[in-house]
């Protein structure tokens, strides 16, 4: 590359892109310059002075403006008289850096001695203890003793609730401002601030309620000390005691990679999730999570999880054995005149595949998608979705991002962070069109409005210059992010079709960073749709009536199909389950393996982190057992084998398999175990970064203008909020006050 800059760090030659900071350049050659305030995802501020190094540049002859060389022809380095911060100084050609000299190590000792003047050093009771950058760097670079008197330590409040999710320990805070900068520069919720100066400086929150942000948990990951703790994990366990399993968040279409930290709980006697941590995937969530993904895990160990199969006897649901329940279900299915499987969009691909396979093998069987699943446009979102090489990080100058009828922060929070950066930091052009205000409106270069429910009509008729074919053709890439808020199925499909039409007209089809990006309601909407769509299915169930219906992961819905006999696989006794004839206890995502497909079609594996609850079994197991009783010779021993079968049957998934999905690649910046001090306590990716399957932009039917909505009662489709109530969030104590 043309703009590589050459420099030496401790005599070692490095070539890095222009503009790289010394600290990052050193990191690329495993030279760990200690930092506290610098974070590779945040703009440098040079506040803590921990990264001081000796910097020199080639000496210039003032007269000739030539580089001075000594007798041996070696370039003479003019060393700066004072140490300088490696985190704010960009590299320059010929620069020399020394990080291992006595001056540097003295400076590190001094900075640590100052940082610890009033630090409580109560590591034994600090939640960061064991994964604390201050602890680690003090051991590595600290002076070992202090000239300050112990008695003169300043004592500050140790239990300051910033909000109800995050607590501040004022004594431990080293005023690095990482938390403030995260909130300002990345989340754009300006709710934290420094207050007072000098020794009295403290972090305060300016919002009402306190620390009002969907992303507050991330500050606790990047805080280099134990000053910010989450209400959820506070004092729950020491980090070294925790088991960790790679997983995937299933609450929204982003599909954030997570690590589930688990430990035995003596109250319940079994392992439970103690905290959900981000797992680095620079393609998906980088190192961030939203608070929903982080704090809504408690349902996995809720006391009211279904533990045993239930069957209806004399009008009552009574506990029974799996044997009897499965026998009953299979005999009913064998004798049924019409069969339907209703599949929700939270269940794993493997479960959906097996159930679809079973039901479709019956000549009278059909699959239906959960009413909540936006089946009307999921095929367009897939076939005209972003390309295989899509990378939100590459969106920037010259690209156009159009957000239509969706509230990205509420419906796909981490995409909000990433789209915002594409616009604010890298100069992509944002066009927002909605019937109400959203947070993304702040950065929009152009805003369009329409009446509630009229998104498709607006898109069809708009004569906005910003959206003209000419403008869109000029753009480097065009990304349409769209949602179905307040749209019925016809309008939602209409909207998607019109957007596809615009992509085609502008010649933006087939580029990696152009296409549709749907704001689906759950974590596996696309996957379930992909599996069911190629088979005999009849879209959303409406109020059709069938003989036997098997509902899996549907949650609660008023328009489930009327069935003479219904089987419900669930985690809880939902309203739907309570009227079923057979209720089968299912395993949550944390207790089993599987895959989800995110809204941008990335197929990702999640792993088993917890033992099963009671006699609950994974849905695929129940389906297979029923199938065997019906005479099928199925021998799937694990989800991996089912996925292989899936890949052989669903063309989009061909070539994929558990091994491919488990592949990782090195990520920048490094975070996690060895690099806590650098990128925070998020986990490195050891479970696979997933694979996006190819879109298939081949046929496009002419956009049909949907029937005009004439009255408010026609308005369909949810206005989804991040914390809207549901079966899962309501079982999380820490989220109670946030549920809408």
């Amino acid at each position: 590359m043309a703009d590589l800059v050459n420099l030496t760090i401790d005599g070692k030659a490095v070539a890095v892109p222009k503009g790289t900071l010394i600290v990052d350049a050193a990191k690329t050659i495993q030279n760990d310059i200690p930092v506290f305030c610098y974070h590779p995802k945040l703009k440098p501020v040079g506040m803590c002075r921990m990264c001081l190094v000796e910097i020199g540049t080639p000496k210039m002859d003032p007269a000739t403006r030539q580089v001075v060389k000594d007798d041996k022809g070696v370039v003479v380095i003019a060393w700066q008289p004072k140490l300088n911060t490696a985190c704010t100084t960009p590299v320059s050609e010929g620069m020399a850096v020394r990080t291992q000299t006595t001056v540097v190590s003295d400076a590190r000792e001094d900075v640590l001695e100052f940082l610890l003047t009033s630090h409580p050093l109560d590591c034994p009771i600090c939640d960061k203890g064991g994964e604390c950058p201050l602890q680690n760097l003090t051991l590595e670079h600290g002076p070992g003793n202090s000239r300050f008197e112990y008695e003169n330590k300043q004592h500050n409040a140790k239990h300051v609730p910033l909000g109800d999710l995050i607590y501040l320990d004022r004594e431990r805070c080293i005023q690095c401002s990482r938390c403030i900068r995260f909130q300002d520069d990345i989340a754009d919720d300006h709710v934290l601030q420094f207050h007072e100066r000098g020794r009295h400086m403290e972090i305060i929150t300016l919002s009402e309620p306190g620390f009002d942000s969907y992303f507050s948990g991330n500050t606790s990951d990047i805080c280099p000390v134990g000053a910010l703790t989450t209400a959820d994990f506070r004092f729950k366990a020491r980090p070294w005691e925790l088991g960790s399993s790679p997983s995937v968040c299933n609450h929204c279409a982003v599909g954030c990679n997570t690590t589930l930290n688990t430990r035995l709980d003596t109250k319940t006697g079994i392992n439970e999730i103690k905290r959900v941590m981000p797992r680095q995937n620079e393609q998906v969530n980088e190192i961030w999570l939203c608070d929903k993904g982080r704090f809504v895990h408690h349902y996995t160990r809720a006391g009211d999880r279904l533990q045993k199969p239930l069957i209806r006897q004399n009008g009552q649901l009574v506990e029974t054995t799996w044997e009897r329940a499965l026998d009953l279900v299979s005999s009913k299915l064998l004798g049924a005149s019409s069969v339907a499987a209703v599949i929700g969009d939270r269940i794993a691909n493997e479960d959906a595949h097996l159930l679809t396979k079973l039901v479709n093998s019956n000549a009278k069987g059909e699959t239906r998608l959960s009413p909540a699943l936006p089946a009307s446009y999921a095929d367009l979102a897939r076939d005209y979705g972003v390309g295989v090489g899509f990378d939100m990080k590459q969106l920037g100058k010259g690209d156009v991002i159009v957000v239509v009828n969706g509230d990205v922060e509420e419906q796909a929070p981490v995409w909000f962070l990433r789209l915002r950066q594409a616009v604010v930091d890298r100069g992509a052009k944002l066009i927002v069109s909605n019937h109400r205000g959203t947070k993304l409106h702040r950065y929009a270069a152009h805003i369009a409005r329409y009446e509630q429910g009229m998104a498709a009509q607006w898109a069809a008729q708009t004569d906005d210059a910003a959206l003209s074919t000419e403008e869109l053709t000029k753009a480097r890439n065009v990304l349409f992010v769209f949602g179905d808020e307040k749209l019925d199925a016809v309008s939602a499909r209409g909207l998607a079709q019109i957007l596809v039409g615009k992509l085609v007209a502008a010649g933006q089809i087939g580029k990696p960073n152009s296409g549709l990006l749907p704001l689906y309601p759950h974590g596996n909407t696309q996957g379930v749709f992909d599996i069911v769509a190629g088979t005999r299915h009849s879209g959303n169930p409406g109020v059709l009536s069938v003989d036997v219906a098997w509902l899996v992961g549907v949650g609660d819905t008023s328009d489930a199909p009327k069935a003479r006999f219904s089987v419900v696989s669930e985690l809880f006794m939902t309203a739907l389950a309570s009227v079923a004839d057979v209720v089968l206890p299912a395993l949550s995502f944390a207790e089993r393996e599987g895959t989800y497909t995110s809204g941008d079609r990335r197929v990702q594996r999640f792993y088993r982190a917890l033992p099963a609850v009671g006699q609950a079994k994974p849905d695929w197991w129940a389906v297979q057992e029923v199938a065997r009783r019906m005479g099928f010779v199925w021998n799937f021993a694990s989800p991996a084998q089912i996925f292989t079968d899936l890949a052989a049957n669903v063309s989009y998934y061909s070539g994929l398999g558990y091994e491919v999905l488990a592949k990782t690649e090195s990520q920048w910046p490094p975070v996690g175990r060895d690099d806590l001090y650098y990128g925070g306590t998020g986990y490195e990716n050891d479970g696979g970064i997933g694979v996006r399957y190819a879109s298939n932009p081949s046929v496009i039917s002419a956009p049909t203008l949907p029937k005009m909505i004439t009255s408010m009662s026609d308005l369909k489709g949810p206005a989804r909020k991040l914390y809207q109530t549901g079966e899962l969030i309501k079982r999380s104590d820490v989220m109670q006050t946030h549920i809408e």
Binding site: D122, P124, I125, R234, F235, K236, E241, T266
Partner: protein
């Protein structure tokens, strides 16, 4: 050859009888445990005790460093948060669950060394015995000392600001000594 070895074998019998007779007249070395006990070194590491401060608060702050130090993985700690209304120990954190599996413990005393508050101490006064495996898992209630006379048991109600740090300096205690 064969005859000589037969004779020497035969000779072992009277030697054996002689040994038995000699020992019969000696004082036995065994003691009638548990009625009788041998004197124990003052530093003998017997069963663990969880100590208290003079005012009855528990020393243990639930840090689990003992569990981390334990080579036998015998200790299980779960922590929780103190409040002034329900205070078990000084500072914010206390051990909600504290268990030692005496069958796994090798009485090395590393837990004692690791403890930042001298809360866990192996004392020579008692030996862990039991009939069941479950019974050999000593719970916090079994390990915790009784509060010094005149002090309330934990949890205590305390004044805000008096016990908000886990580790000495500890003014409230210093003045009371």
């Amino acid at each position: 050859m064969a005859e000589a070895s037969a004779i020497s074998k035969l000779m072992r019998i009277p030697v054996g009888f002689a040994t038995v007779l000699k020992t019969l007249l000696k004082k036995p070395v065994t003691v009638q445990y548990p009625d009788e006990q041998r004197p124990m070194s003052a530093r003998f590491r017997g069963r663990h005790h969880l100590k208290r401060y003079e005012n009855g608060l528990e020393r243990c702050i639930g840090c689990a460093l003992c569990a981390a130090a334990c080579p036998a993985d015998a200790i299980y700690v779960e922590a929780s948060e103190n409040t002034n209304e329900q205070r078990f120990s000084p500072g914010e954190r206390y051990s909600k669950t504290y268990e030692i599996n005496m069958l796994r413990c090798i009485f090395c005393g590393y837990c004692e060394d690791a403890c930042p508050t001298n809360a866990i101490v192996l004392e020579p006064i008692e030996f862990p015995t039991g009939y069941t495996r479950e019974g050999m898992i000593y719970t916090k209630q079994m390990l915790l000392e009784v509060p010094p006379t005149g002090t309330p048991a934990t949890p205590q109600v305390t004044q805000p600001g008096t016990f908000d740090r886990p580790i000495i300096p500890f003014p409230a205690i210093d003045s009371s000594v």
